[in-house]
Symmetry: C2
Subunit: 337 residues, 2 copies
Amino acid sequence: MAAVNRQWLLASRPVGFPKMSDFRLAETPVPAPGPGQMRVRNLWLSVDPYMRGRMNEARSYARPVPIGGVMEGGTVARVEVSNVKGFAPGAIVESRFGWQDYALSDGRGVRIVDPQLAPIQTALYVLGMPGMTAYFGLLDIGGAKSGETVLVSGAAGAVGALVGQIAKIIGCRAVGIAGGAAKVRHVVEDLGFDGAFDYKASSDYGAEIARLCPQGVDVYFDNVGGAITDAAFAHLNVRARVAVCGQISQYNVEAPERGPRLLGQLVVKQARVEGFLVFQFQERYAEGMARMAGWLKAGRLKYRETVTEGLENAPQAFMGMLKGLNTGKQLVKIADA
Amino acid sequence: MAAVNRQWLLASRPVGFPKMSDFRLAETPVPAPGPGQMRVRNLWLSVDPYMRGRMNEARSYARPVPIGGVMEGGTVARVEVSNVKGFAPGAIVESRFGWQDYALSDGRGVRIVDPQLAPIQTALYVLGMPGMTAYFGLLDIGGAKSGETVLVSGAAGAVGALVGQIAKIIGCRAVGIAGGAAKVRHVVEDLGFDGAFDYKASSDYGAEIARLCPQGVDVYFDNVGGAITDAAFAHLNVRARVAVCGQISQYNVEAPERGPRLLGQLVVKQARVEGFLVFQFQERYAEGMARMAGWLKAGRLKYRETVTEGLENAPQAFMGMLKGLNTGKQLVKIADA
């Protein structure tokens, strides 16, 4: 075991895009569990777009990380020492243990991961929060049905890659928007999307959407917002649904962006736009996990990971993900299982 | 009977706000009904915000009025001569007979109005399209429930005035936004809204909404769009619903307005925005009519009409309504019943 607990703390609230100086690496003693506590060793850290919001001062759906606080994040960890019933040393677990080597826990909100089911880090992706986000976001919020056209922004990202594949599994046409030719090839050739375009190489998103969605868009799964979303709205069908999962294009702007007013289009299209957080489906995770695990085992869900080695590189991994340098799930490998 | 059929034709497609020269009054022979037809005498004409859209070239949910075509509009009329079974001369009927003195019809889409139930022109308001819009928009699209706060823009307009009253009937707090002190007094003192503010006298819509909606906004019923709606979004509660009925502030802009991007707020609020057209509830009009008629008879729904006398003044009535000169339903009285 490492002699110290390395912890990434929030040093300052970012103005616009985060900088290395917004993070500080502290070294603290490895914590000793008291009665009713266990100590876990983090193995894998997930870095996700939502974390950018936690770095801001404004209270959102969750409390901000305080200045000097450990950066929040989901991890897969191994139980080292345990005074908690049901969590034996050696067990692999998943929870929000943060950007650090070690954490203490009383077991609440901790899920035991079955290493036989799939690689343990999938508990942070296909069989974890991003997987549930894609599953419930597409099927419940988006209400996608067989025969419909599903358009996904951020298609090569963790959630988007799954959304398109689930859409295909249930019989939809899946069209992606991604940044860069390699990502476009990936979602079409590796993941089986029906089509995709590279927004970085396009001067007319609307024309690309029209070309790839000749029947219009029934469900738009939005991870990015901004001008891409403006274009998608213009191609919504009557009674279309927009599932707003994220707006990553807007997370690092220094001044709020302005854009065309979109609500008028909703009236003539009788369309619905709904924002969601995966937590609202908490009581149905078992259903979602079972279906995603089934598709995964059957080889119907493929996934790619972008792995950054070492906790010391977590801020770079996080900032790279915000820039879209990852394909699929951005993970930080902290220690060998 | 008049010797001619006066008809308001669309002379040109308005650029920005409509002008008198966009309309042309034609005099044509009074039409004679053939077999399977009836002739009706229009008595009341309804002018409504949606008509502005029909004057544009772009196809929306309905075909545009062609240049030289009779302006579309709902009317209450009296059957004069009838070769249609079920429609006797003298019957009072409601349909989309247009901006003219007389019309022919084969009876399709024509509803017989019971003059005993309420004044016949209510078939164009409380017991007509605006009434159904308010009823289904608030209860189905908005999903308003007892104890919630309902905020309504365009609160002194035809639909808004009903929305606030239905909200009160089902046990909500109803708060209105209207233009001018007289309208604000009307919705609070006459219609029983819990509160309202005059956007024309306010420099900070958000502060007014916060003051009048101390528990936040659960349902925002939007008739206007623009900056008022931007402010309303900032006060949505978690799991709020926005029913987008109209965006009258945007109908006459020459260049599309830009505004703050709103979708990010939907994610953190897990909120839903849905545009709708009353026609989507067509199969449930009987339910809506029955409940609205019941509340009307019981004195629980009040309504005000702004009546312009004479078909010759229909364009002025329409343009006045677009400017918000009316309180409650803007009607044009064409002839005595």
